[in-house]
């Protein structure tokens, strides 16, 4: 048997800040070894030498498309250690920003990871165009389009600005009108369906064994979502479904994300309707007490956990970031083995893998 080794990456696009060493036999993949670490910045080491507040902008940077979830996941164990309860209104505002962020992140993923990787340039334009409106919303609320640094121990930095509710409802109504069109042109497009169906199948038991998270897990038929199973923020006050698909192929993983956008719209409408009056934050000390805690947040790419060991000073003793992309990476070589070279972009894209989040 004569085989050929291919280096895919580390330049964008196709792999993006990571390399996949692929051994091929004809156009079949014998094995694939992901080589990551090209954008490793030592966030965890740096975090040990900085004040807990100054860590916020740094530790949310690894995923700029989904920064509010990293921010929340970092804050959660600190609040646990400090024993600070976030006021009700603060929880709602956090939930609202995170769902705005989830929609923006899924549209981004559908534009690049699904649209471009399956050669569908219209979806690329659709996704980026519509996502911009959600970045506008986030900017109106936080002052920043993508990296908000908006959650601090005890609550959030600012209250909802004047006119935010109207703008949010207007944007959601627009997206609701747009989704059928995105569905017609892209999601239900026979070309896209045929491209993803049966490609890169991750069965339920493999998904559990490999410990994958988020849409990758739910695309394999496992009904698990931290927002439902271990609720935080205002997620226990709103009513929503967990979309799951049982086929476990690349198409299913994208259908999960598309359906999640609809659920996020519903969550946002309930949250903005029910948000109570009151304070948005409680005072919290700028020291992190001794002890250890781990948080759980459902980000756009799955469960994130920050494990924090407190030192009794204003600097953490240890911060360990466990991000969705890092956990889903184990599925990549598993799915690529035995697949065809031509299916590699589809499989890689269906994981919605974010290299910087994995490398930290």
């Amino acid at each position: 048997m004569s085989t050929l080794d291919l280096n895919v990456g580390p330049q964008h696009p196709g792999s993006g800040h990571m390399r996949i060493i692929v051994r091929t036999d004809g156009d079949l993949i014998v094995h694939a070894i992901p080589d990551i670490g090209y954008v490793h910045r030592g966030c965890e080491k740096i975090a040990e030498s900085r004040n807990i507040i100054k860590n916020i902008p740094m530790l949310e940077r690894p995923n700029i498309a989904d920064s509010s979830h990293l921010n929340w996941s970092y804050i959660q164990p600190i609040e646990d250690l400090q024993g600070v309860e976030v006021p009700e209104r603060g929880r709602y505002i956090r939930t609202i920003l995170c769902e705005i962020n989830r929609i923006a992140s899924h549209l981004y993923g559908m534009a690049i990871m699904a649209g471009i990787f399956s050669g569908h340039t219209t979806m690329y334009m659709f996704g980026f165009g519509d996502r911009e409106l959600f970045l506008d919303l986030a900017e109106m609320l936080t002052g920043a389009r993508m990296t908000f640094s908006f959650f601090v121990p005890g609550g959030v930095r600012r209250d909802l600005p004047k006119g935010f509710k109207e703008k949010l409802l207007e944007t959601l109504a627009y997206l609701e009108r747009r989704l059928p069109e995105i569905d017609r042109i892209f999601v239900s497009n026979p070309v896209f369906i045929e491209r993803g169906r049966g490609v890169g199948v991750l069965r339920k038991e493999d998904a559990i064994r490999l410990g994958v998270v988020g849409p990758v897990l739910r695309g394999s038929g496992v009904r698990f979502d931290v927002r439902k199973d271990s609720p935080y923020g205002a997620y226990d006050r709103v009513d929503f479904e967990i979309p799951t698909f049982k086929d476990g192929d690349s198409l299913s993983r994208w259908l999960v994300r598309f359906e999640e956008i609809k659920q996020s719209i519903s969550i946002l409408m309930q949250a903005i309707r029910d948000i109570p009056d009151g304070p948005i934050a409680r005072k919290s000390p700028i020291v992190i007490p001794k002890g250890e805690a781990i948080g759980r947040v459902e980000s756009s790419r799955g469960e994130i956990n920050h494990y924090i060991v407190g030192s009794g000073s204003d600097k953490p003793y240890r911060v360990k970031m466990n991000t969705g992309s890092f956990k889903n990476l184990l599925a990549l070589p598993f799915l690529l083995k035995g697949a065809r070279i031509g299916d590699m972009p589809i499989i890689y894209g269906s994981l919605d893998y974010w290299p910087v989040e994995a490398d930290r």
């Binding site: 990551i36 670490g37 490793h40 030592g42 965890e44 080491k45 740096i46 040990e48 030498s49 646990d80 024993g83 998904a207 559990i208 064994r209 490999l210 410990g211 998270v213 897990l217 496992v222 698990f224 199973d229 271990s230 002890g291 805690a293 781990i294 759980r296 469960e303 956990n305 494990y307 060991v309 003793y317 240890r318 360990k320 466990n322 890092f326 956990k327 990476l329 184990l330 490398d359 930290r360």
Partner: protein, 161 residues
């Protein structure tokens, strides 16, 4: 840390303790949804296999930590469950204390494959040897890094002072 365990959490803690018997001293309730236990490296495989049978089917994270003053390295496996509904909200921390000079323990990848990359990371960052790991190579660090494991506390960088 002031709240008390729910009846469900209490019964899970009791079940874990009963299964593990004398191998583990206690199953601690840390806070809502968080249990922890300390295992010895000699019996960690046994403990892990038992927890797997109880329904803790995947690791959500594995972390190393260097306690310089106490001269020990700690490895923590954070476990949860996808298959048992009553365990889904729980995170069980399985800790093991290791000698800082020669930290090593048997790999738990045969029991939880999801720990694979996390163990590799703990290996390069803290110098922990996971005996029997299928591929204990560098993961995030550059290939020509030959300094000490960078997350050790005695390695400091002037830029971070």
């Amino acid at each position: 840390m002031t709240d008390a365990p729910s009846a469900q959490e209490q019964s899970i803690a009791t079940a874990v303790k009963e299964q593990l018997g004398s191998v583990v001293e206690e199953v601690r309730y840390d806070r809502k949804g968080r249990l922890s236990l300390v295992a010895h490296k000699e019996t960690i495989r046994e403990v892990a296999a038992c927890l797997q049978r109880l329904g803790f089917d995947h690791t959500i994270a594995v972390s190393g930590a260097d306690y310089l003053a106490e001269k020990r390295i700690e490895v923590v496996y954070f476990l949860s469950s996808y298959s048992r509904d009553d365990l889904k909200h729980l995170v069980l921390s399985l800790k093991v204390h290791l000698d800082r000079e020669k930290p090593s323990l048997p790999t738990l990848t045969p029991i939880w494959e999801s720990a694979n990359l996390f163990e590799r990371e703990a290996h390069e960052m803290f110098g922990v040897i996971f005996e029997g790991h299928p591929n204990l190579q560098k993961l995030l660090l550059q290939d020509n890094w030959d300094g000490p494991p960078p997350m050790r506390k005695d390695l400091t960088f002037p830029e971070l002072a």
